[in-house]
């Protein structure tokens, strides 16, 4: 993995590529799986764009809330005079296959990251770095300085850690809690969430949080210099100065 030629563009004390090969590979596989999960998830959602709380929910019951979109099923009262085409078959096949890809990739990444000290070194905020001044500056979306081409800032670190260790496990859990096969073996997976329909509602909100994270993440990448940051995540090379972007 170590390539001495790449080290030439790194600041003193930093060796190797900007992002390790494992980080780069798992990042892009996760991007592909996430996009597939998002598109198919929306397709599955429109067959019943109503949400409930507790164990049960159907069109004969009052929903917790309803998304004001047309549905792909005629039995759902949406107020629209038409029914969208049914795309659930392939959407479900692809959703679950992409979920396997995302979970296996995530496990590989976390296993490697723990062994290689990736989280400790690159993602846990350094001592004293989390001051209100720093957080405030980042939340005002100040354009990142050159030093950040080689290191994550504290707010960024917290956001990445939250996505990896909170949102991702939650979206997997709430998803698995809807599997009748899985909950037959592990009933607590769904009862702890308050029931089958609660799990579905929570799955929707955690997914929405992941979409917010992705939008903010891509937004910050564009702000920091889309070309250089994406190049670093593909090739591992990062520019010393951001003017190279």
């Amino acid at each position: 993995m170590y390539n001495p030629q790449m080290a030439s563009s790194a600041p003193a004390g930093v060796s190797g590529p900007r992002h390790a090969a494992v980080v780069r590979a798992t990042h892009w596989i996760t991007v592909a799986a996430f996009l597939a999960l998002l598109i198919t998830g929306v397709e599955i959602l429109i067959s019943h764009p109503r949400f409930y709380w507790g164990e049960t929910g159907n069109v004969g019951m009052r929903p917790l809330f309803q998304i004001p979109i047309p549905s792909s099923r005629g039995s759902v009262p949406t107020g629209y005079g038409y029914v969208l085409p049914d795309q659930n078959g392939w959407s479900r096949y692809l959703h679950f296959q992409s979920a396997w890809v995302a979970v296996l990739t995530g496990l590989l990444y976390v296993w490697w990251g723990l062994g290689a000290g990736h989280f400790r070194r690159n993602l846990v905020p350094t001592r004293g770095s989390l001051s209100w001044r720093v957080i405030g500056a980042h939340l005002r979306l100040r354009r990142p300085g050159a030093e950040e081409a080689w290191s994550y800032n504290p707010v960024q670190r917290m956001a990445y850690l939250a996505a990896i260790f909170v949102l991702f496990p939650l979206v997997v859990w709430t998803g698995l809690a809807m599997s009748p096969g899985l909950v037959s073996a592990v009933p607590a997976a769904v009862t702890l969430l308050g029931g089958q329909q609660s799990a579905r509602t929570l799955h929707f909100f955690v997914s929405a949080a992941l979409v917010l994270f992705a939008v903010a993440h891509v937004g910050m990448v564009i702000l920091a210099g889309f070309g250089s940051r994406v190049r670093a995540m593909i090739t591992g090379r990062a520019a010393r100065r951001k003017e190279d972007a």
Partner: protein, 248 residues
């Protein structure tokens, strides 16, 4: 650029033959679903094999009587034809459930025959792939009991079941067929099974999504090879784009 070393080539070769051996072993132990040959085969196989290895005998969740849905919902079925109307007018006395294929005593049962068999009541959820669900009490005879009466042969690996509704058929493996909660249902919430919910008889497979619980069943066929049925994908569902295994 790295050179392809001999070690890498040997490693890749071992990896490929290892995958091939795993696939063969998986098929031998019934861990590969019949619709595993398409683009989504890997994901389906991972799900099915994982659940068969880790949760073959686990019981579907059962609920308290107080949790029974006051508003159960059923998707409308297609036209059932005049033949169904005639049977319904006769109180389904002439309804027959035929059992054939790999059984020692092929034959058929009337609804009354099924009602005379040991009844089981279970309060389980019907969960539709669309996202909605409801809880009801289901009364019926264990499919395992019906299969035992017909004398199921040891080499049978799947039960294919057909609906009175044209074109509707499905199948389950023996793990689900012999599972105590898989029942030939003739009652619901204390009464007869209403036509809307699949009456006179419906197969309930509570560890899988609702579409595996086929309504108006008329025939059970025991087999060791799903390739002989329909397009060979195990049920009408994959022919319509839906997964054969719906335990997700």
């Amino acid at each position: 650029m790295r050179k392809l070393s001999r070690r890498r080539l040997i490693g890749a070769g071992l990896g490929i033959s290892g995958l091939a051996a795993t696939a063969k072993l998986g098929a031998h132990y019934g861990l590969v679903p019949p619709d595993a040959h398409g683009l989504y085969g890997p994901g389906e196989t991972l799900t099915y094999a994982t659940q068969r290895l880790l949760a073959r005998h686990s019981p579907a969740r059962e609920f308290a009587r107080s949790q029974i849905s006051r508003e159960p919902f059923a998707n409308p079925t297609g036209p059932l034809g005049d033949g169904f109307g005639v049977l319904e007018a006769g109180g389904f006395k002439d309804w027959r459930l035929t059992v054939d294929g790999m059984v020692a005593h092929p034959g058929s049962f009337t609804v009354a025959d099924l009602r005379h068999m040991p009844a089981r009541s279970e309060i389980t959820a019907v969960q539709c792939e669309e996202g909605w669900n409801y809880i009801a009490e289901w009364i019926g005879v264990a499919l395992a009991h019906v299969l035992e009466e017909a004398g199921t042969l040891r080499q049978a690996r799947y039960v294919v079941y057909r609906s009175f509704e044209q074109g509707w058929w499905d199948s389950i493996d023996m793990a689900d067929a012999l599972h105590p909660q898989t029942i030939v249902t003739h009652g619901m919430n204390g009464g007869d099974l209403p036509v809307r919910f699949g009456g006179p008889i419906r197969l309930r497979v509570p560890r899988q999504l609702g579409y595996k619980s086929v309504k108006y069943i008329v025939r059970l066929t025991l087999t060791d090879d799903l390739k002989k049925f329909g397009k060979g994908l195990g049920s009408a569902a994959p022919e319509g784009g839906y997964a054969w295994y719906a335990g997700i």
